[in-house]
């Protein structure tokens, strides 16, 4: 009698192990401190973040700087925004009807840009960290010269950012965002009250870890504490051109996205 039960238990344990492997980064205990990052032999300075970094593993197993499955409860404002979203990824994806603002060439903004599956280059300068993102050729300053958050510049997609070292973790503090971009590809919103904190930790020569916390009382009833996203150093790459233009987006929509995703909408039949 017990053997079949034991067999089922063993099988499901294997399933659990399989999934925990797929989501290995989600089990890390602290921001910027992935437990399973493999040490590399090459020497490195933990305060040297320079280089071209490519996302390799997000907390949700994909191109997300936050795990959408772990968001705190919505406020009514955020719930209305969420319900109006039609994502291109996740359990609520709606093929052919997606309305992620990036599909109309709006910038990803921070922190979504950090999860986008494109490389970025970091330059640690004497008074700032400069990051150049390949996607949209977006660039960003994080001031390290003691500058305070300015009033009156924003709101903007990337916000206003200052940074400091806490041990070997570079901590970025940002405010003054607009509320246009989503936080992730699943449709989770943020508001113009978002206070974003990022934690950069060079794990080894080839690996950078970034995690974020999102304090947005207008959208979420608690602080959203993210888990580490890993990036691989790509010393042989260059940052190449990636611009979004509305004409190319419209052509792509007409030829691929709308007809390819028109299940249940009848749009494919209309366009053919």
């Amino acid at each position: 009698m017990k053997k079949p039960f034991v067999s089922c238990v063993v099988t499901l344990l294997a399933a659990s192990a399989c999934c925990s492997g797929a989501h290995a980064q989600t089990s890390s205990p602290a921001p910027g401190q992935p437990a399973d990052a493999k040490p590399a032999a090459a020497p490195f300075s933990p305060r040297d973040l320079d280089g071209i970094w490519m996302p390799i593993s997000g907390p949700a197993g994909g191109p997300q700087i936050v795990d959408p499955n772990t968001h705190p409860p919505f406020t009514p404002w955020a719930k209305a925004r969420f319900d109006a979203s039609f994502p291109s990824l996740g359990p609520r994806d709606v093929a052919g009807k997606e309305n992620d603002p990036i599909l109309q060439c709006y910038p990803d903004g921070m922190p979504k840009q950090l999860g986008s599956p494109h490389p970025f280059e970091i330059f640690m300068l004497p008074d700032r960290m400069l990051t150049i993102f390949e996607k949209d050729h977006d660039w960003r300053y994080v001031w390290t010269d003691g500058k305070k958050h300015n009033a009156g510049e924003g709101p903007t997609y990337d916000g206003h950012s200052t940074g400091r070292w806490d041990g070997d973790t570079f901590v970025v503090d940002s405010v003054d965002f607009n509320d246009i971009p989503w936080l992730d590809y699943f449709g989770d919103p943020h508001s113009d009250a978002m206070h974003l904190t990022e934690y950069y930790k060079r794990v080894n020569h080839d690996t950078l870890s970034i995690s974020v916390t999102i304090d947005d009382p207008k959208a979420y009833t608690a602080v959203w504490v993210g888990k580490p996203h890993l990036y691989k150093l790509e010393p042989d790459w260059d940052i190449l051109n990636y611009y979004c233009t509305i004409d190319d987006i419209k052509q792509y929509d007409k030829d691929v996205r709308i007809p390819g995703g028109a299940a249940g909408t009848g749009e494919a039949a209309k366009s053919k």
Binding site: A15, P63, D93, V94, A95, K232, G260
Partner: protein, 182 residues
């Protein structure tokens, strides 16, 4: 594991099964967990002499396997696949009619012949130009008139649109078209 134990031992409505459903990610995982729930409802206990029938064991093992595959699949899925059947692959040979080297996705247009010799027009989505460059492509990799083979995932609707996995040139050279390169 206590919940899973109860799943196979207690009678309906099996409230402890709820965590099993919740921990499965994505629609396939939840369908699998729901299937396990209902299978447990039907085959709710060992027989009178305390033995599980062979059919019962096979059934539960198969459902467990489905659950494994569903959870593993959703764990690794990371690319936008709402419109495309990422579990199917289609291979199409034909002639390039247009090659659009643009963001956010390079597009390839190709004419192929169906079984009856009729021309079928395919539209193919690939990664962005930067990612393709890192996989050996360039803006003159293709031109109208080239004979190539496209291997990719078809649209779920049956419309002749695919997301490219691999390009095979006329000389046999293969070029990958991953959206994410590491």
């Amino acid at each position: 594991m206590f919940s899973i134990h109860l799943l196979y031992r207690e009678k309906p409505p099996y409230p402890p099964v709820i965590p099993v459903i919740l921990i499965t990610r994505g629609i396939y995982g939840q369908i699998a967990a729901t299937a396990i729930f209902f299978s447990a409802t039907i085959w709710d206990s060992p027989d009178r002499v305390g033995r599980w029938s062979l059919n019962r064991r096979i059934w539960i093992s198969l459902l467990s396997l489905v659950c494994i595959l569903a959870m593993a699949g959703t764990g690794f899925a990371h690319h936008g696949g709402a419109a495309f059947d990422m579990k199917s692959m289609v291979t199409v040979q034909g002639t390039i009619t247009e090659f659009r080297w643009v963001n956010p996705h390079v597009q390839i247009y190709l004419d192929a012949a169906d079984d009856k010799g009729n021309t079928v027009h395919w539209t193919c989505e690939t990664a962005d130009p930067s990612m393709l460059v890192r996989q050996g492509w360039s803006n003159d990799t293709l031109k109208p008139g080239d004979h190539v083979t496209l291997v990719g995932h078809p649209a779920k609707t049956g419309v002749k649109v695919m997301v490219l996995d691999k390009l095979v040139l006329a000389n046999g050279q293969e070029l990958a078209a991953k959206a994410v390169v590491n």
